[in-house]
Symmetry: none
Subunit: 199 residues, 4 copies
DNA sequence: TTTTAAACGAGACGGTACGTCCTGTCTTGCT
DNA sequence: AGCAAGACAGGACGTACCGTCTCGTTTAAAA
């Protein structure tokens, strides 16, 4: 029913869980989210699409958001895994651009938005979302600024947290609230304003 | 949204719906949202709390989000219905503070967040939310800047849309994503940065 | 919306009910019973078909069976309103034949069967059905035998009630239970057996 | 109707339905029919009384009449499962008495009457009622007469169907239509008349 | 001729039960 | 031991009618 990867040849029975089932569930959840939207995503539907029993899902995940969180954790790290630029401006422009693309143009971004939405409805989801998604992302957002402080391009007393809010806030606002596109022109302008106000 | 003629308080028959039932439903929905959260909000629960038949709800609203949209439309207008200040800085500080309070401290703000969340799950909700909530709010956000242009405090070629994104984006980001508080110090800093970068 | 019979020109207002509405309801109920069956017969459906408000029905009738009882009372009398024969055998054969045709081939018979069915479900209907339909019919069934006793064709001590049960019982049994047709051959055989056993 | 293997008492999973749930539903339906009457018998009520989910009922039965038909099939067979007498008269008297008691004095008879009533309202019920209840019962009614023909007590050309109609018809007529009691005196008289007319 | 009150059409109301869908738990037999 | 399968109790969904109610119109008897 689903592909059984070579490196998982001993799974699904006496010793350990089935990696094949795990991957089939993650992929089915991602696919169905994009196809149907979060509201129409059901455990039963994921099980049917993955060719997996409901019980197998409940054995390893607690809810549909739990599945999405797992799939997101992997994808987000991959997306932002990149080398730094030497110049602070270039560094920030690349990072914000990458963030904008992630949120508005990738399947993982769709998962991100869905989870952010569900976090508004369910405090348990909100807590996990903050711990597992928002804070790690915040860490990644902070990196360019910390690098600049270390290199002396920014003073040591720079208010980094406020800077992050000002740099990424408008991007999330567009993606989540106004649903406008977030072109490079827009993210570049945010960087220009930030650097300009500092001189 | 609905005319409420004084002489028509006691309807529910041939010529019009029951205003009492309408208000009971809106209030019950608001209350239950705050008490239980959006995920546990059900039409049956609203009907029971409001002392109303389910059919009466379905006669006038298509879903629980439809009810919340109606209640929000009224409350949002009321919250931001305020006089302007003479000074652009004071005007902006007051407006952003009001926005922050609305989103993080009022029941209507909880409704706003829940709807923003649901908009991530359902494109129909997203469309109505944009048209009936986001755009009118955007209009209100634009007002202080337009007043400043008219009075000459800002140049005519100021990029108003970008300014709004920079001013309110971080506030929505905190309310929706990081769920940090949004103190006056934070909104004031946003205004300072905006005005400072302009000099 | 409905025909207004000439003899009802003064109704529907200050003093007295609308004969037009009454007839429209009775006819709609009969029609819909035959079209849809008793189970799908609803007060709302009757009101819509008759072009009458629900309230008008509830003003004058207590239920759909109440409507059918009224319509049946008229039709049954009409159907059996007939002259007697001189000979007991011919009298009985004509009467049983008439009963069989009524139950199995007329619209009023369909109403009769529906009410008999509902009488199994609702003791209030059963009581009215017995008083207003079964007993009057029993009276009509008795008439040929009483005439025969009076004319001397039957002895005065004849067990009339048992005779009726034996004569009409098999006809109702076929109409209600086995749903077989009830041809003249069958009713004639019942009469032959009854008269034959008496010799 | 359903096999009940001894070794499968505890099902409700992959390989079969829950026998416990099935019996609970049948018993609840019977009880509630007698307590409340057919009109007030609801699927929700049966589910609640049986401690069963509505879905479990809908999984195995299509309607409340479907449940009653299943329960009746068992009970009717049990009630008439009896040894034959040697004498035709005694055989018939015993059988008619048994039929009268069934219809007028047993819970299963109440179910029988309710289904006969519903058969007047719904042709699908009528079809199943005839096939699963009336025809099997007719078979049982026929047995005494066939035994008599075989033993030579009745001639080979006896009109058995007509005889059945005349023997049982009046009993059903009393039970369904006039709702009079059906004492042994009455059923014995039917037998006497039948045998007497044959001499 | 005007007033006026009963019956009317329309249809919104609080309810009940419907039949469907999905939840999360469970039991079974296979691998 | 993990799995696919699927029956289970539970509960919300959105729909259809129930019987009640209030509205504004119609109409003929009373004033």
């Amino acid at each position: 029913m689903y592909a059984r990867p070579v490196e998982a040849r001993h799974r699904g029975n006496r010793h350990g869980r089935s990696e094949a089932a795990r991957l089939a569930v993650l992929e089915a959840a991602d696919d169905l989210l994009v196809e149907l939207g979060f509201a129409s995503l059901t455990i039963e539907g994921i099980a049917a699409r993955a060719g997996v029993a409901k019980q197998t899902i409940y054995r390893w995940w607690s809810s549909k958001t739990d599945i999405l969180l797992e799939s997101l954790a992997v994808d987000a790290v991959e997306h932002f895994d990149t080398a730094a630029h030497e110049d602070l401006g270039a560094d920030l422009r690349a990072h914000l651009r990458r963030l904008a693309v992630f949120l508005t143009e990738t399947d993982a971004g769709a998962v991100w938005l869905a989870l952010a939405g569900q976090a508004q409805h369910d405090t348990a989801v909100a807590a996990r979302f903050e711990a597992e998604v928002v804070l790690p992302q915040r860490e990644r957002d902070r990196a360019p600024l910390l690098r600049a402080i270390e290199s002396g391009a920014l003073p040591g007393n720079e208010d980094v947290e406020l800077a992050i809010d000002q740099l990424v806030g408008p991007i999330y606002y567009r993606a989540l609230v106004t649903r406008q596109p977030v072109p490079a022109r827009f993210t570049d302008a945010l960087v220009s304003h930030y650097l300009g106000a500092r001189t």
